[in-house]
């Protein structure tokens, strides 16, 4: 049943397919949607990578990776290039994804219009009519209040020229990576019981205005560990005297770069 939902999600890019979400051995909010999608597609020859905010070594990522290693016997990795399936919470790896890879997002709230219209019956009609004016008004209100579009994560996108979709709470920094991506992108929302998809090589456009075009965050300094610029950085507080450093949120690419530099 989850597999059927995935097939329909691929056939109608960006449309949220309802599915009967299962009990998972973890609470809602910890990636039950992503785990169900991963479990539905995972096979013996797959290599699984799990990231949480870009990191392979945080509790959520380690638990889910171990869960699948133990229950399915599948090979796991932390290397983006070696993985065939990457389950992610709120980041897209910095290493460009390739054909043959599948990115599985854990999604808390799949409905991009939910904070504008709480009724599911209404949002479903809005999607059916492709009536997305309210979303543009929301972005416009950002501009009138802050002078720029202040939405920095879960930034709404239009998929294949039709459905407006919530890319999950990834930083908008990652939105351009979704466009024309060679990998298949699947989204699972366990609590909200929705699955949606972006097939490979599909146009994913971040909503914007002619006079306020979409722009990603920029960082003024490189990563303190690997020296990379152009990566998404996390702020790490290092002491109680205001000391802080900025490091790559993607631990795999950061470690790889540090190793290569040390050689």
């Amino acid at each position: 049943m989850i597999r059927r939902a995935i097939l329909k999600a691929i056939a109608v890019p960006g449309y949220q397919v309802p599915f009967a979400s299962r009990e998972m051995p973890m609470p809602y909010g910890w990636g039950t949607g992503g785990v169900q999608v991963t479990a539905a597609i995972l096979g013996r020859s797959d290599v699984l990578k799990v990231i949480d905010q870009g990191a392979d070594d945080t509790t959520n990522a380690v638990s889910i990776r171990r869960f699948f290693a133990r229950t399915s016997g599948v090979a796991t990795t932390t290397r983006t290039r070696e993985a065939t399936i990457i389950q992610t919470r709120h980041r897209i790896p910095e290493t460009p994804l390739a054909e043959g890879q599948t990115l599985v997002y854990q999604v808390p709230i799949p409905e991009p219009l939910r904070f504008l219209e709480p009724r599911e019956t209404e949002t479903r009609q809005l999607h059916a009519l492709a009536e997305y004016g309210a979303m543009h008004v929301k972005l416009y209100e950002d501009i009138s209040r802050h002078g720029h579009i202040a939405t920095t994560y879960a930034y709404p996108v239009e998929v294949a020229g039709r459905y407006v979709m919530d890319p999950s709470p990834t930083p908008k920094f990652d939105n351009p990576k979704m466009d024309d991506c060679p990998a298949l992108q699947l989204f699972g929302a366990g609590r909200e019981r929705r699955i949606y998809a972006v097939p490979p090589y599909t146009r994913v456009r971040s909503l914007d205005f002619e006079d306020h075009p979409f722009r990603v965050q920029e960082f003024t300094q490189p990563c303190a560990l690997c020296g990379a610029s152009g990566h998404y950085l996390d702020e790490v507080v290092t002491d109680d005297a205001g000391g802080r450093m900025y490091v790559c949120s993607d631990t795999d690419i950061c470690e790889t770069r540090v190793e290569e530099a040390g050689r």
Binding site: M1, R3, R4, A5, I6, L7, K8, A9, I10, A11, V12, P13, Y15, V17, P18, A40, I41, L42, G43, R44, R124, Q125, H127, A128, L129, A160, R162, Y163, D180, P182, L184, A197, V198, P199, P200, Y201, T202
Partner: protein, 195 residues
Amino acid sequence: MLAPGFADPVHDAQGTFRAVMDALARPGQPRPLAPGLTPPAPLTPELAAVALALTDADTPVWLDAALAAAPDVAAYLRFHTGAPLTDDPAQAAFALIRDPGRCPPLGRFAPGTPAYPDTSTTLVLACEAITEGEGLHLAGPGIAGTVRLAAAPLPEGFVTQLAANRADFPLGVDLILTAPGRVAGLPRSTAVSEG
């Protein structure tokens, strides 16, 4: 005696699903499908594999005239999937087409509703051959630029019917083309032309 289903139900069903998923995600790139099934004639191993992997009690299945004429096929599908068989193509979640040349017009199958376009029929066609790199021109999600795909036999006026199907997007049926050892996907999002 009833023919057996998948030898390894968990992994064979996963493998079949994965081939279909990859085929639908990348229209024009057929995937290998070797299910190792020996279903009753005229059901092909590939049609049987898709049915066993994807249908259950929640999915009404419609059989074309060639399949409906063979009681063994209905018995095989009922036993292994538990799926109810329907005579009405507009009620079908899946339609198994053994004879694509005599497939009813695509418009007779369920197109879904504007609020729930996922409730449309998925047609599974048993072609004799699928060849990439020639034939129809495909473009759309899942395809970098355009690709070419040929399959035979196909329903009458196939390209015109697919154009009408595509015009109603997000409504429309999705097609899974099978041939011996292969599967290809033609989701409703794909624009198909003769070139």
